[in-house]
Amino acid sequence: MRVRQKGFVLIAMSVAMVVMLAVMGLAFDFGRIYIAHNEAQVFTDAAAMAAASKLDGTDAGLERARQAVAKLPMRWNLGTKSFTGVVVEFSPDKRSWARVTAPDNQVEITFLRAVGGQPVLTVPAHSVAAAKPVRLVE
C-alpha cells in the first residue's frame, strides 16, 4: 500500500504543472499577442491616414508620405518597442491611396513555449487609406 502511494503527488503535480503552464500561457501569451496585434493595427491605421493625406500625384508627395509615416511616435509591445521594417505602398497614380504594412512585430512567447509552442510569433498588420476620405464626423 505504502509503496504504491509513494510518488503519486509527484506525478499529479507534474501533470497539473503542464496544464497550469498551458493555462498561464493562454492568459499571458495570448494577452500579449492580442495587444501587439491591436497596437500594430492602430499604428497602421494612423500611418495609412498620414501617408494618404500627403499624396498629390508627385514623387515629392510620396516622399512626404514616407516621412509622415516615419515620424509617427507610436510603439508596440505595451508601448515599448518602435515599429521596424514598415512598408509604405501607394496607388500607381500616386494620388489615390496608401497602404501601410507593419510586417515584423515579433512577440516572444513565454509560457506556451514550455508546453510545445513556438518561441516567437510574428503579428503583422496592414491598413489602406484613401487620399480623399469621406468625412463622416463634423
Binding site: 505504502r2 491591436n38 509622415a68 507610436m74 464626423v137
Partner: protein
C-alpha cells in the same frame, strides 16, 4: 499506527507546498490576464478616439471652443460617443474623461497638423495589486479634418 500518523503529516506538508505554487500561479494568471485585457481595451479606445479627433472639424474661434472639441474627443475615447447620455457606461472599467489627454501638434502656420491622444494616471484594479498606466497607451493621428479658425462649437 505510528506510520499512518507520520504519512498524514507528509500529506499536509505536500499540500501546503503545492498550494503555495498553485495559488500563486492562478493569482498571477488572473492578474496579468485581466491587466492585458484592460490594456487591450484601452488601445482600442484610444485608437478610436484618435481617429475621431483626426477627422473632426477643429473649431478655434476661442479657447472654450477648443476645449469643447477636446471634451468631445475625451468622451469618444471613454464612452465611444462624443455626446454621451448622462447614464453612459465607460467602455473600459472605471475610465474617466479626465484620464484622457488630448494634445494637438500645430504646424508653423498655426494649423493643427496632428493630434496625440493618450491615457494618463489610469489604474487597473485587478484582483491582486495594481498597475498604473501613464502616457500609454498613446496614439498620434495626422489631422485630416477641416480647420475652422473662425467657427464656434455648437
Amino acid at each position: 499506527m505510528m506510520r499512518r500518523a507520520r504519512q498524514r503529516g507528509h500529506a499536509m506538508i505536500e499540500l501546503a507546498v503545492s498550494a503555495v505554487v498553485m495559488v500563486s500561479c492562478v493569482a498571477g494568471t488572473v492578474q496579468f490576464g485581466y491587466t492585458f485585457y484592460v490594456y487591450n481595451q484601452l488601445v482600442t479606445a484610444v485608437g478610436n478616439g484618435g481617429r475621431y479627433a483626426a477627422m473632426r472639424t477643429y473649431r478655434a474661434a476661442a479657447q472654450p471652443d477648443i476645449e469643447k472639441g477636446n471634451a468631445a474627443i475625451r468622451n469618444m475615447v471613454v464612452y465611444g460617443d462624443s455626446r454621451p447620455s448622462p447614464d453612459a457606461v465607460p467602455q473600459v472599467a472605471n475610465l474617466k474623461p479626465e484620464q484622457v489627454q488630448v494634445d494637438w501638434v500645430m504646424d508653423e502656420s498655426g494649423k493643427p497638423a496632428a493630434v496625440n491622444v493618450s491615457i494618463v494616471d489610469y489604474t487597473v484594479d485587478a484582483a491582486f495589486g495594481m498597475f498604473r498606466f501613464t502616457g500609454k497607451p498613446a496614439v498620434e493621428y495626422p489631422f485630416v479634418g477641416r480647420f475652422a479658425p473662425a467657427e464656434r462649437e455648437p
